[in-house]
């Protein structure tokens, strides 16, 4: 599976436009940013969800506020690290480090982005077979797509493969 098609073409345009502007001025300009484009969607077998283990992946920037370092949300070049925390974590212990969305909704009700209690209920109801006990979390402001592919997603894939999950749900911010 190729996560970033035409990688070299994308990076050349990115380097010569968005990155060059940032390096020259210290400002970001998303009018000259080209989002990655894939012609091909990956193929794969479906699963019987009621008999499968699901893992949750979130790009809302959630982290354990009392024990983990926040994501570097103000960094104009993004933060390509990840955190993990138990799906059973009370919302009172989670904060969100991501400067590129309005936190009003998630501060009122974290389940708008982090559906932990909903997913637990769906397991109880038999709709999901099981929920992996750890959430994979990152901050979704990731302008350098090649770093996402080279740094972040290998770590995500490693954790997903180690989890024994048959299915993954990504909830972006």
């Amino acid at each position: 599976m190729v996560m970033l098609e035409n990688r070299d073409t994308w990076y050349t345009y990115f380097k010569d436009n968005w990155l060059a502007h940032y390096e020259a001025t210290g400002e970001t300009n998303f009018k000259i940013y080209q989002h990655p484009k894939n012609e091909h969607a990956p193929s794969g077998k479906g699963v019987t969800l009621s008999q499968s283990k699901l893992i949750l992946i979130t790009s809302a920037g959630g982290y354990l506020k009392n024990s983990q370092t926040p994501f570097d949300a103000p960094n104009p070049l993004g933060d390509y690290s990840l955190r993990t925390f138990p799906t059973s974590t009370p919302f009172s212990e989670i904060d969100f480090a991501h400067d590129h969305y309005d936190h009003a909704a998630v501060n009122t009700d974290p389940q708008v982005l982090l559906p932990l209690r909903h997913l637990e209920a769906l397991v109880t109801e038999g709709i999901i077979g099981a929920l992996h006990d750890m959430v994979i979390s990152y901050s979704g402001y990731l302008p350098i797509a090649t770093r996402t592919v080279d740094e972040l997603y290998p770590e995500v894939l490693k954790l997903v493969n180690e989890s024994g999950a048959q299915a993954a749900l990504l909830v972006p911010s």
Partner: protein, 73 residues
């Protein structure tokens, strides 16, 4: 992801379509409230279930568009 069925939902149809994920549910919700209005559990569950149910089908799938928004349409 190798051998793992994946699904996602997004309010940002334009960018999401470009990436071309195997299973995608598109809504009219908003940045920072991907699954629905705060404390609207019914809406959040509808979006979540529509997204999760796609896992039962082989990918790639045509993108599913839901008429879910923060304000009544």
């Amino acid at each position: 992801m190798n051998g793992i069925a994946t699904t996602t939902t997004s309010w940002n149809a334009g960018v999401s379509r470009l990436v071309n994920p195997p299973r995608l549910v598109i809504t009219k919700l908003a940045r920072g409230a991907t699954l629905g209005k705060p404390h609207d559990s019914d809406q959040q569950r509808r979006v979540l279930l529509a997204t999760l149910n796609r896992l039962n089908d082989d990918a790639p799938l045509d993108h599913l568009i839901l008429d879910e928004a923060l304000d009544p349409q």
